[in-house]
Subunit: 81 residues, 2 copies
């Protein structure tokens, strides 16, 4: 089994209220120095044979990301692209 990771994040120009809620909660919890927080999705796809990055990109494009508001990157688990 081989794993490919797809990271889906909102585009920078799209507001992220969930991330803002976390960022706003931090000072109340005594954590300072955080400028912003953005929350996206991490999807791990396990392939039966070898890791197929191109196939994973196709799945992300069709099914995992909304291209109007999101952008995604596909990579192997250790951060290699």
């Amino acid at each position: 089994m081989a794993r490919v990771v797809v990271d889906v994040m909102l585009k920078p120009e799209i507001l992220d209220p969930q991330g803002q809620a976390v960022a706003n909660a931090l000072p109340r919890l005594g954590v300072t120095g955080v400028e912003s927080v953005r929350i996206g999705k991490r999807i791990e796809i396990e392939f039966a044979g070898t890791a197929d990055v191109e196939r994973a990109r196709e799945i992300a494009d069709k099914l995992l990301a909304n291209p109007v508001i999101e952008e995604f990157t596909v990579h192997l688990p250790d951060g290699d692209s």
Copy 2:
């Protein structure tokens, strides 16, 4: 500004119906060879000064992950830990 990434995934023993729904949809879309799909969260924390991995770990522990069902890893954006 310096970014730290927190990846939050369900523990392996916890069922992931959202990921299963994606995995089940793939053969209908003509994509084969995928064994399983798991969907978690990717959180990007921007620090005002330098990237503070320990501070990010504290935030993840307090606010971002539910330790009963989730596990998290904290790393710098390029995959360095």
